[in-house]
């Protein structure tokens, strides 16, 4: 009986089998990694906006409070997007001729809204509310990152469920006094843990079981 396979056949066979195994593992690992990558969660991507608005300039250089533009952040689920009118309260005086601001002036003149591209957004079936987070001492920076350092606005955190859960499971380290919520330079005190515990009690933060109950965010 002649040999069917060559002497190297077994090596090939094992290589292929191993390769298939490696591929399968890599495929799953790749899928998991992809779901956590920028391709999927859009973190740190600054979309092209009609006006290259700089949060860095307005916050750090001009010292404008978040609430000046996002005026409903304490009273509504939505933080509120500034109307053209709000932009023009300043820009009718400053940079009135700047080419960059032409779309804003045009919007006011034609009474046509500016089409901004939303950067921070959760899926439709997630019911996020700004007002309660502000009221409980969760700072802007917790979700939006150092927006005061962003010349162009990008998504700072992956708005995935795990990200939300991280804080809902253990809110204490993410809390700060209510008055420091808009302060980007706030430094936690030495005993951050004690502060967290105190604020948990003071703000009557609900238990992790309640905060991680599905109905808290999904309805």
């Amino acid at each position: 009986m002649p040999q069917i396979f060559s002497r190297t056949a077994d090596t090939w066979f094992r290589a292929v089998a191993l390769g298939a195994l490696v591929f399968a593992v890599a495929f799953f690992a790749g899928a998991l990694a992809f779901a956590r990558s920028q391709y999927w969660d859009d973190v740190a991507l600054a979309p092209q906006q009609p006006v290259p608005f700089s949060h860095k300039h307005h916050i750090s250089d001009d010292g404008i409070d978040c609430r000046y533009c996002h005026s409903t952040v304490e009273t509504s689920a939505n933080a509120g997007f500034p109307t053209t009118h709000v932009c023009m309260t300043c820009h009718s005086q400053l940079w009135t001729e700047a080419a960059l601001l032409a779309p804003v002036r045009q919007s006011l003149a034609e009474n046509r809204p500016i089409d901004w591209h939303r950067v921070a957004r959760v899926p439709d079936y997630v019911y996020f509310r700004h007002d309660i987070h502000i009221a409980k001492g969760v700072a802007c920076v917790e979700c939006h990152g150092r927006i005061d350092k962003m010349p162009l606005t990008y998504r700072a955190k992956a708005f995935e469920m795990k990200f939300c859960l991280e804080c809902h499971r253990d809110p204490a380290p993410h809390l700060r006094p209510r008055e420091a919520v808009y302060d980007f330079d706030w430094k936690p005190p030495a005993d951050h843990a004690a502060l967290g515990r105190r604020l948990m009690a003071e703000y009557r933060i609900r238990s992790p079981a309640e905060l991680t109950s599905c109905g808290t965010c999904h309805r």
Partner: protein, 941 residues
């Protein structure tokens, strides 16, 4: 309305292809499925940018557009809802509502809680009115001879006509208006008569009679009555005062100290009869005789049963003088109405349990009835007819060929929400705005007026009825708002008073003195059937009413309270007659009367008087829109102008059989069923069957108690089966309409259903209603079955349904002993027509294909209240969370709240001996429990 253009065009294109609409209806689960218009355009029309709640994949959504305002409208807050007090019309009466708007679009209507009579109660019609606002089939621009035209063109024509009328004093000009209570319209009519003395205003009121209205009305005040005897008066059924009566009913039932006793004799089963302590089914031909037996005097020929009922009712009336009430239905002959008035006067009831007052609605002057108009057209005395609102071509009685007569009028102008049967054959059709879009006013049945204020910009190129009427005489027409304000100039002259009236939603108005009572002719017996004939009773449909709600998908799919059929009308037939004729529910029968005939599916209705059949108005529409056209039979064809509510004729099966889209089979309760609906009696005050029902032994360790612990109690003694809760739930929770075919298949989506059970003899059964939402079982079988944690329990006791986690195994529904879960068999929502999706509640996820859904106890409201309380650093107060069904219930049969709070209303009701769990023996520990009905008969009978 720059954005309106493309929107129109697509609609227009759509409307031209009727065949397409037919195909949609036949072929697709959602009648709306394929029809889309550009969503963004619509949102711009709505005047705000917002993301509608929609369910997409699990991917975090990529950057998309956000379109802020240029100027923020005053008082507008993104993400928050606003409430406006206004009213929607029903039979010309105001139904005071609180309109909830989100991002500038109205999303929900509820009874105005400040209103002294409605006190927050709603009816299904009030709840459904919002869908009419977004009806994509509404007429959207003036039509001249069926072709699009502009208001400018119309105004141009108007100038010529106006000149002619001025010269002739309005000779030949006739207006035909529907039933109305609007003080402004009444004022305008009076002014019109002064300006054009030759013109005449006719009333077309198919539900009040074609010959004109009664000069007096008995206005019941049920809350003051200990005994109510109703002769064919469906007090608790559909009607402008349903919410008021329902409220009174609720206050005199359940845990009320002084219980109202209700005697009902009816010619066809109604909700009122279902709730009666003593019910009697009686053919219309003997109703007068029965009245005579109660009024007393004269010899009567009645059966023993009828006599016994009459005797008991009479005794009850007399034993509670001043606290009793005899009421006669509007469909009974006027002679009987007058007799009832007499009896109530004699018993000293007037002023206590009822009032006698002039009608609030427009009463035409002599010669102003519809029949007078018909005569005048025949006599060629009418050269221009403005049909302002009603639809006489469809709603005229069968013995008047109105379509042909109408065509004889040279100038026919129709104004309405739809290009309906009348609009289609008019020279001009003018779109009217929806009540939520324009200024007007109206009066609610209790006599108060409501200023109807717009809560949204008109979506289409419509013009207010008031403006149209004004333009008949005036060259320069003020805006509707100015016209309405002028009416109220004296009472609400200053801006503060006006603003106050708008805010509260009602204005007191002086009652007009009642006209003197007419001389009462002796009751004349209704036509008796000859051998082989049956008596025919004609009634408005329980959900579509007179046909004006035919294009409302919610109301079409709302199960009729007693039949549980949807999407068509039936011919109600008694079990015995059905046996004689060998027909079953679903067999088509042919009903003939006066040489005219209709064919419709029979429905064997327990409690229907034996030789009586009932037809229901409102169906058989030819031009209602995509939803309402071409379903059911048209009972108007069998009506006669002289006697619109009754007829005599024959009925026979055609041999054809249709499948009815019912949501519940007919069931008589057996012994086992009696466990589902329980009745307590003075002898047996506890609803519990045995001690075991309190046993909470379980194999499982208990989860920790939690505060709050949400729970609901439904009082079956108070429930009147009106379905307001069902529609409130539908409106609140974005529940889709799935269409007739899907209901055939058993796929209706209602989260809350009102089950109807019969007990006893089919000829004279007890009828029970039982609203069934999700029970939020503490040991929920459904949750155990879900492999992916898509339905789980929250610490505060909610049985959560996480749509975005659901993969659609349907195990939960298989395991659910109550079968309250609903499944998205197809994609019922994505491609809903553009305006209707604007109604959706942004706080509730719109469910996509393949996921389960069910009652959530309105979790969006719970979470909203919790967040508000948390912001204010306090606990949620009792009563702060109301579920949509609870809010809507006129009879206050539903209580919701925190069971862990011993002070709460719901915890109090749980302690009632009437409290019991549905299928409690299954160990599911429902959080929704029931309070048993209260009967005066021994238990189990």
């Amino acid at each position: 309305m720059s954005g309106g253009k493309t929107f129109w065009r697509s609609l227009d294109e759509y409307q031209r292809s009727d065949a397409f609409g037919e195909m949609l209806k036949a072929e697709f689960p959602s009648i709306f499925e394929l029809w889309t218009a550009d969503r963004r355009q619509v949102l711009r029309v709505m005047g705000a940018s917002l993301a509608l709640a929609g369910m997409t994949a699990c991917k975090p959504v990529r950057s998309d557009d956000v379109v802020p305002f240029v100027y923020r409208p005053e008082g507008f807050l993104e993400g928050r809802t606003d409430h406006y007090a206004t009213a929607v019309p029903f039979e010309g009466y105001a139904q005071p509502v609180l309109a909830t708007t989100s991002a500038g679009r109205p999303i929900k209507l509820d009874g105005n809680p400040e209103h002294p009579a409605f006190r927050g109660g709603s009816t299904p019609f009030m709840q459904a009115a919002i869908l009419d606002l977004y009806d994509p089939d509404r007429s959207q621009e003036p039509l001249m001879a069926g072709r699009p035209a502009s208001w400018d063109e119309f105004d141009g024509q108007m100038v010529k006509w106006r000149d002619a009328w001025r010269a002739s004093g309005g000779a030949g000009l006739r207006l035909l208006i529907g039933s109305t209570t609007s003080p402004t319209l009444l004022r305008q009519i009076a002014e019109l008569k002064r300006a054009l003395p030759q013109a005449r205003v006719h009333l077309f009121d198919p539900l009040g009679g074609y010959a004109g209205g009664a000069p007096q009305r008995l206005r019941p005040k049920l809350d003051a009555a200990d005994v109510v005897v109703s002769l064919d008066d469906d007090l608790l059924g559909p009607g402008p005062a349903q919410a008021i009566h329902g409220r009174a009913w609720g206050e005199r039932h359940g845990d009320a100290q002084e219980r109202m006793r209700l005697f009902v004799a009816e010619t066809t089963p109604t909700q009122t009869g279902a709730k009666a302590d003593r019910r009697l089914g009686i053919p219309p031909s003997r109703l007068a005789m029965l009245a005579k037996a109660i009024v007393g005097g004269g010899k009567v020929t009645l059966t023993d049963q009828e006599l016994a009922w009459a005797k008991e009712a009479r005794q009850a009336l007399e034993s509670t003088r001043g606290r009793s009430l005899l009421t006669i239905g509007p469909s009974a002959p006027p002679q009987l109405q007058a007799a009832a008035l007499q009896v109530n006067r004699a018993l000293g009831n007037v002023g206590r349990t009822c009032e006698v007052a002039a009608p609030l609605t427009y009463v035409p002057e002599p010669g102003g009835s519809f029949l007078d108009l018909v005569r005048d057209i025949e006599a060629r005395r009418v050269s221009a007819l403005f049909v302002l609102g009603p639809n006489p071509v469809y709603q005229a009685p069968g013995d008047i060929p109105f379509a042909a007569l109408y065509a004889k009028v040279a100038l026919r102008v129709h104004a309405g929400l739809h290009t309906d049967e009348t609009g289609a054959i008019s020279n001009w059709h003018l779109p009217l705005p929806h009540a939520l879009e324009e200024w007007s006013d109206a009066r609610s049945p209790d006599g108060l007026a409501t200023i109807v204020q717009p809560v949204v910009r008109p979506m289409f190129d419509s013009r207010s009825l008031h403006e149209i009427v004004a333009s008949l005489t005036a060259d320069a027409v003020p805006s509707a708002r100015e016209i309405v304000r002028k009416t109220w100039a004296r009472q609400l002259g200053d801006d503060a008073a006006w603003a106050g009236a708008l805010k509260t939603g009602f204005v007191a108005m002086p009652a007009r003195a009642a006209a003197p009572a007419n001389v009462i002719p002796p009751p004349s017996p209704a036509a008796a059937p000859k051998n082989g004939e049956v008596e025919i009773v004609i009634r408005p449909d329980p959900t579509i009413h007179d046909g004006s709600f035919a294009n409302n998908g919610w109301l079409q799919e709302l199960p009729k309270p007693l039949f549980k059929t949807t999407w068509e009308n039936v011919v109600a037939i008694s079990p015995r007659l059905a046996a004689e004729l060998k027909v079953e529910s679903g067999d088509v029968v042919r009903v003939e009367s006066g040489g005219r005939a209709v064919e419709g599916p029979a429905w064997v209705l327990p409690g229907q008087p034996q030789q009586v059949i009932t037809l229901y108005l409102g169906y058989g529409r030819k031009r209602a829109g995509r939803i309402g056209t071409g379903i059911g039979y048209d009972a108007y064809r069998l009506r006669s102008a002289a006697e619109p509510w009754n007829a005599v004729g024959t009925v026979k099966p055609t041999g054809e059989r249709v499948k009815l889209a019912t949501t519940q089979e007919q069931h008589l309760m057996d012994a086992e069923g009696a466990d589902l609906i329980r009745t307590v009696t003075p002898a047996h005050p506890s609803a519990l069957r045995n001690e075991e029902e309190l046993d909470r032994t379980s194999f499982y360790p208990e989860w920790p108690e939690h505060d709050p612990a949400w729970g609901m109690v439904i009082d079956l003694d108070r429930c009147i089966g009106c379905n307001a809760c069902v529609l409130a739930c539908q409106a609140e929770n974005n529940i889709p309409v799935v269409g007739q075919h899907q209901v055939y298949e058993g796929r209706e989506m209602a989260w809350l259903r009102v089950d109807r059970y019969y007990a006893g003899e089919p000829d004279d059964p007890e009828t029970h209603f039982q609203p069934v939402p999700c029970m939020h079982c503490e040991q929920a079988p459904c949750e155990m079955g879900c492999p992916v944690h898509a339905t789980v329990h929250s610490p505060d006791g909610l049985n959560l349904m996480v749509y975005n986690r659901c993969i659609g195994t349907r195990t939960c529904s298989s395991y659910c002993p109550y079968k309250v879960r609903r499944f998205n068999w197809f994609d019922y929502t994505t491609d809903a027509p553009s305006p209707t999706e604007a109604q959706r509640n942004p706080d509730v996820t719109v469910r996509g294909r393949g996921v389960m859904e069910k009652c959530t106890y309105c979790i969006q409201r719970i979470e909203g209240a919790k967040v508000q309380a948390d912001i204010e650093n306090r606990d949620v107060r009792d009563g702060e969370v109301t579920t949509a069904c609870q809010q809507a219930c006129p009879a206050q049969a539903i209580t919701f709240g925190n069971l862990a709070d011993v002070e709460s209303a719901v915890a109090g009701q749980r302690k009632s001996p009437r409290n019991y769990s549905l299928l409690g023996e299954q160990g599911t520990r429902p959080r929704t429990t029931y309070l048993a009905k209260i009967g005066d008969e021994p238990d189990g009978e």
